[in-house]
């Protein structure tokens, strides 16, 4: 007799906990071939508000952690992800309609990307900061600092590699993130939340909301306590105009990372390309400190 498997309840990840949406809503997620996978929480404006609060509370401590410490935590995320490789391969294959081999390659690339960013945490300041030879008797140094709380529209297509590629550079430098997962392919994102929860990553550093992107993204874009927003995941969403999100973001002068645009249409980037420093730079501020020299 075959055993009936125990299914998982897919919930939000906010402040280190796994609540259902405060709205009580859920929506059905199906595989690339149309089979039922799960009912996931349908996040709401208030879930965004709670997540921003959690991200704000966590930001100071995360930014104050040593870069070495943040690097080890990110590496730990990669370790736990590696340990759950099989689960992610299944979820990515179902979500994206990939062959097991294709899904495995994508999961491995996601793990390797985390390792890559883990190594960046204690090098960013050396590469992007410097002393400035001012014309006077002053010590003058410029260093990059995290922007603060970053809203992230995760890509709609690449459910794990794309997600990791947008979240890792945000948190590597000491920002905290409120992430709207892919709307139609949210399961790897929820499972990634479980990885974060067991990786020494402080609660609130990453918050993941599964939701209809067009419904909640405007609330994230206009939220006054969010310092920056990554619009990558606006590509491929019906009823969502990324320019409107950028306009809403201007209310408190959020830093905006625009989606990749080709032929005037937002498109999802090629996640296999070398990431470069662009995503790290996008959520950093340069602080310059002066002090006189003298005896």
């Amino acid at each position: 007799m075959s055993r009936l498997d125990v299914r998982k309840t897919y919930k939000l990840y906010i402040g280190g906990a796994f609540p259902r949406s405060e709205s009580g809503r859920s929506y059905e997620v199906v595989s690339a071939s149309g089979e039922f996978l799960a009912n996931v929480s349908m996040g709401s404006r208030k879930d965004v508000r709670d997540a921003v609060g959690a991200a704000r509370s966590a930001q100071r401590g995360w930014a104050a952690a040593t870069a070495y410490n943040r690097g080890q935590v990110l590496y730990r995320v990669a370790e736990i992800l590696e340990g759950r490789r099989g689960q992610f391969v299944d979820e990515v294959a179902a979500a994206e309609g990939l062959t097991p081999r294709g899904a495995a390659a994508s999961v491995e690339a996601a793990i390797d990307r985390l390792v890559w960013y883990a190594g960046w945490t204690d090098k960013v300041a050396q590469v992007l900061g410097n002393l400035n030879p001012v014309a006077g008797p002053f010590f003058n140094v410029s260093v990059p600092e995290p922007t603060g709380v970053v809203g992230v529209l995760a890509p709609q297509g690449s459910s794990l590699l794309g997600l990791v590629s947008v979240v890792a550079p945000v948190i590597a430098t000491g920002n905290t993130a409120v992430v709207l997962s892919s709307a139609d392919r949210p399961l790897p994102a929820v499972t990634l939340g479980e990885v974060f929860a067991t990786s020494d990553l402080p609660g609130g550093v990453v918050n993941i909301i599964t939701a209809r992107t067009a419904e909640v993204a405007p609330w994230l874009a206009s939220h006054r306590d969010v310092n920056a927003i990554d619009l990558t995941g606006a590509a491929g969403v019906d009823d969502l105009v990324w320019g409107e999100l950028e306009a809403a973001a201007a209310d408190n002068l959020k830093r905006v990372l625009r989606p990749t645009v080709a032929g005037n249409v937002a498109v999802e980037p090629d996640w296999s390309a070398d990431p470069g420093l662009g995503r790290l730079r996008a959520f950093l501020e340069t602080k310059t400190v002066w002090h006189p020299k003298g005896i």
Partner: protein
């Protein structure tokens, strides 16, 4: 003790020739003056000259000229040759420094001491610094070694304020040209003259036509310029309100922007600070340029136990400040730039007093004509008072107190702005801790209001985004995305 009176020591106006009227500088030549409006000397309200209000058609012409230069001669030039033009400009600014200083003082109202010793020499230094970058951009760390070279955006629209007219022009034009862009710049409505004199410098330097275009006018000109469809990048220094409007107007386009906006800097004085030095820093922080500085140290946060001592010494020092004729070499404070600004300062200070602050100014006789406001200290200011939260942009210092470093940080950061901050203490570890905690783009420790072309300047939060100066400032003027006109790959604005 005998009192020695200062004899008048005015700088001669004769060093600079001001035309009766000015056209626009488009495509290397001046247009015929039309649609004229006055620019006045705020120290005596006399008309200095009339300048042209540029309309939408002028904006079209200037942008087209900049585009032709970018697609043509300027775009084809090597970095080394671009740099040589910038070196030439730097040298001409130095050669004609006194002319610029006098003109700037006449049009702006700031003391000659400042234009002569800060505005003009630092403007020349910006051109000299950026000249050297023009042929070294591949070493600036903007792109990975071996990767694509950083490329200019194309036509850059630049809109600058009236508080440092020539210096802001230099901050904008020098990095734009060093990286290979072409420029259409609009100086502030009330201070157009130094930009028009700079246009003559471009001619003297033999800068190819269209590389720099100068459009005078009011906010309508600025709006038409930043909203022009053939502009690739915007650099704006001014109010947060206008900055937000610009951010909205470019939303959903491929235009990039850097915004350098308002501030409400905290200048934090601990009880172990070198008090006499701190007093000088406080005075420089808020009374430099009549406090019309976006990074001015307008909120003095004093540790409670030294509040009375600091305020007493500060008042004694302010009594020695000389307010008057901006052209007089002994003047410490000059005129407020415009009637509108004077009214804003007056209104906010009145509100501060109505909300419970105590107002104090030294005895000083202000000229009968022109726009003048005495150096003013507001004590007993609470966090909620409007003079503690809103940018006054005038010679007005709001004094607040704190007890612990944590409280100082909380109060200093309790503002939507984040441009600059000051810290005064003899304890090194506390300086570094404070510097880490303060949410500000520039932190001056045991000093204030220092500027240098090698040192990046710009804000956190609603003080804007992007940096000007230094290696980091170059990033705003280049793109590293693939060379297809319709494609932008994850560039921040």
């Amino acid at each position: 003790m005998p009192t020695f009176e200062y004899a008048p020591a005015p700088e001669s106006r004769a060093v600079v020739t001001i035309e009766k009227s000015y056209g626009l500088f488009i495509d290397g030549t001046f247009t015929r003056p039309k649609a004229l409006f006055d620019t006045i000397n705020p120290a005596d309200e006399s008309v200095l000259a009339q300048v042209t209000q540029a309309g939408p058609r002028d904006v079209d012409k200037a942008v087209a000229a900049a585009r032709r230069a970018f697609d043509g001669e300027w775009g084809a030039l090597s970095g080394a040759e671009r740099g040589k033009y910038l070196f030439r400009i730097a040298r001409i600014l130095q050669e004609r420094a006194r002319e610029f200083a006098v003109l700037e003082t006449l049009d702006n109202g700031k003391p000659i001491k400042e234009t002569r010793d800060v505005d003009v020499p630092v403007a020349a230094a910006h051109f000299f610094y950026h000249a050297g970058w023009a042929d070294k951009l591949e070493h600036a760390g903007l792109t990975p070694s071996g990767g694509p070279l950083p490329r200019p955006h194309g036509v850059v629209a630049q809109v600058i304020p009236w508080n440092f007219p020539l210096l802001m022009l230099a901050w904008k034009i020098a990095p734009a040209l060093a990286t290979g862009n072409t420029v259409v710049l609009k100086p502030a409505e009330t201070t157009p003259l130094s930009a028009l004199l700079f246009a003559q410098v471009c001619q003297q330097a033999g800068l190819p036509a269209g590389v720099v275009n100068i459009l005078t006018g009011d906010g309508r000109t600025g709006q038409a310029l930043v909203e022009h469809p053939d502009v690739d990048k915007i650099a704006f220094t001014g109010s947060t309100e206008v900055g937000k409007a610009i951010a909205r107007s470019i939303a959903g386009t491929t235009k990039k922007a850097t915004l350098e906006l308002g501030g409400k800097a905290a200048n934090v004085v601990f009880d172990d600070a070198p008090i006499d030095q701190a007093i000088e820093g406080i005075v420089n922080g808020i009374f430099f340029n009549q406090g019309q500085v976006c990074c001015a140290g307008s909120r003095l946060l004093v540790q409670e136990n030294v509040h009375d001592q600091v305020v007493a010494k500060l008042k004694r020092r302010l009594e020695t400040l000389r307010v008057g004729d901006p052209l007089d070499k002994n003047s410490d404070l000059g005129a407020i730039n415009s009637r509108a600004q004077l009214e804003r300062i007056t209104r906010l200070v009145d509100i501060g007093v109505a909300q419970g602050a105590q107002r104090w100014s030294p005895e000083c006789s202000l000229p009968a004509t022109g726009f003048w406001f005495p150096p003013t200290v507001l004590t007993g200011v609470a966090q909620t008072h409007r003079v503690a939260t809103e940018e006054i942009f005038g010679p007005v210092l709001s004094v607040l107190t704190f007890r612990t470093p944590a409280e100082a940080v909380a109060k200093a950061n309790n503002t939507p702005y984040g441009l600059s901050a000051g810290v005064w203490t003899e304890k090194g570890s506390r300086i570094l801790w404070m510097a880490d905690q303060l949410k500000a783009g520039v932190v001056w420790a045991n000093t204030f209001n220092r500027f240098d072309p090698t040192s990046p300047f710009g804000g956190y939060k609603e003080s804007g985004y992007g940096r000007e100066g230094g290696r980091q400032g170059l990033a705003a003027y280049v793109t590293t995305s693939p060379r297809t006109p319709s494609s932008t790959t994850g560039d921040t604005r």
